[in-house]
Amino acid sequence: MLRMVSQSKTRIAVALFAGLLVAGCASKKDGLPDNAAGLGLGGANGLGGSGNVVPGSPQDFTVNVGDRVFFETDSSDITATGQQTLQRQAQWLRQNTQYPITIEGHADERGTREYNLALGARRASATRDYLIQLGVPGNKMRTISYGKERPVAVCDDISCWSQNRRAVTVLGGPSS
């Protein structure tokens, strides 16, 4: 499969001004909504229930907003589902401005190490650029790539690999 040409700024402009669905990179999430992959990472409050989550807290961000977006193989294009997630993120981040933000880019294991480091960086960068377009100050966001070194899901099929192709918006600094 050919990688979509990733001129993220151009792509974001298209997405913002010409509608939300970007041809050729529509979301195929293997049935997983973006924020469902916070499984086990959402802290003490667990899944779904937002009852005990303090509004404006990092838990609120992870549980109720969704801290991550997913990517197609070898792609750093923000999917339609990812755009929705980032719009929620941007809205929340504009209201809760006290956190330093680190965007972690990740790749699945089906690539070579060096390329995946760069691909993770490209995904983090595309995510950051998208949030900037939505009004989140760029100087508050740093990016880091973990390549394929920090999979969130460990298994051996395609649906699992798709959970690892992600960019995670972390409040307060890198998570690992």
């Binding site: 060096e114 390329y115 460990v154």
Partner: protein
């Protein structure tokens, strides 16, 4: 050269039957050294050491001429004998002789003096001498491998730099596992290793002095640096610099600290590797869509694509002989290790499976080491394969292991 001289450039080699007698010594050390010799030669795939229980002439040392008929009867083409004796100053004297059994002639005979702690090295040096005398090619046994030792579960793997002999002996860890470390590579003089580490803040390329343990960041770049490798003269480190969505290749002179940008595309350019004469560089780039291999002059000139097969190509490494480039290829859901000529012709896949990655050349350019991973929650292991593709061997490591890099021959 004897009549049975091995031609290892051919595709399929019949291993040479060789008798390796236990080296004489007052303790078990003689046998331990000759066992190292035997294991090296066997793993090369070019030699078939004969079971010593078949030997007719027992206890043979280097001082007497063998009874050649006793060795032709068991079909030994070559015979190795030796002896280890202590010197007054505490060192060991290790002697060996290599005989051509059918011609009844000595092919080689040498002696070495060494600190007793280095007994395995002496075995490797003798194995290299035998390999070279019989194949006409330099050996590769007296060499080391730097790699990443892995432990813990896959989602939070602990990775430590480690160094070992090429046969997996004498493992020593160089980092403590607190920082994620990747892709170590030897300097040509084997005194230093360049690698990537996550440390605090931005992931960077580092330089580690093996003798002192001293380490430093290479260069002062405004972003993640990764995928480092030394130039053949050891004066430069070449690496990728990540800026936003793009990775470009830079060379840094280690003395002047001057940096030169060699590629400038809106693509991922990485995994650079110099030709052994230092005039050219092979690297991978996705500038055309998927990852493919490209070559360029050492100054970045004349960039041209060399891989055109079905699939994507990455992690190219130029052979120390200059004649081939090894790579990882992804095709049809498989990860393969292969080689091609520097102009892209003559592609051959040596091994294929779920995940094979990151080849590194033995110093003689005849054998590759790489890592292999499996589906699911296990971890990677190191393997070697020769250029025929027939002789694949697992390289023993204490735990999971990845990112091997072979040293030049020691001296």
């Amino acid at each position: 050269m004897p009549w049975w001289s091995l031609d290892i450039t051919q595709g399929n080699v019949q291993p040479l039957p060789i008798a390796i007698a236990d080296f004489q010594s007052q303790d078990g050390l003689g046998k331990q050294i000759s066992d190292v010799v035997s294991a090296d030669l066997r793993r090369s795939g070019l030699f078939a050491p004969i079971d010593p229980s078949a030997f007719i002439q027992k206890g043979l040392g280097p001082d007497v001429s063998p009874n050649f008929q006793d060795w032709t009867v068991i079909n030994a083409q070559a015979l190795v004998v030796g002896r280890v004796s202590p010197e007054a100053d505490g060192r060991l004297r290790v002697e060996f002789r290599l005989w051509d059994v059918f011609a009844g002639q000595q092919l080689d005979g040498q002696q070495f003096y060494t600190n007793p702690d280095n007994w395995r090295r002496v075995g490797h040096i003798i194995a290299d001498a035998i390999y070279e005398r019989i194949t006409g090619e330099k050996g590769y046994f007296d060499s080391r491998v730097v790699f990443v030792g892995e432990s813990g579960d896959k989602a939070n793997r602990v990775k430590r730099l480690a160094i070992m002999d090429q046969d997996g002996a004498n493992v020593r860890y160089l980092t403590d596992g607190r920082d994620l470390v990747l892709t170590p590579r030897f300097s040509p003089n084997r005194q230093e290793v360049t690698y990537m580490s996550f440390g605090n803040g931005e992931p960077r390329v580092y330089l580690l002095q093996l003798e002192t343990g001293q380490r430093e960041i290479v260069g002062n770049f405004p972003g993640m640096t990764f995928s480092p490798r030394f130039s053949p003269d050891g004066q430069k480190v070449i690496m990728s610099l990540q800026q936003n969505g793009n990775a470009n290749i830079y060379a840094m002179d280690l003395r002047s600290r001057a940096t030169t940008r060699l590629t400038s595309t809106s693509a991922i350019d990485t995994s650079p590797s110099y030709s052994p004469d230092g005039t050219r560089i092979v690297f991978e780039s996705d500038r055309g869509g998927r990852q493919q291999l490209y070559t360029m002059g050492a100054d970045g000139s004349n960039q041209q694509r060399i891989s055109f097969g079905d699939g994507s190509y990455s992690t190219p490494v130029w052979s120390p002989r200059g004649d081939l480039i090894a790579f990882t290829k992804q095709s049809g859901g498989q990860f393969q290790i292969g080689v091609m000529r520097p102009d892209g012709s003559g592609e051959r896949i040596l091994t294929s499976g779920f995940h094979n990655e990151g080849p590194t050349w033995a110093p003689n350019g005849r054998v590759l080491m790489f890592f292999r991973d499996q589906r699911g929650g296990g971890g990677p292991q190191l393997y070697s394969i020769d250029l025929t593709g027939y002789n694949e061997q697992k390289v023993p490591t204490p735990g999971y292991a990845s990112d091997p890099a072979w040293s030049p021959l020691l001296d």
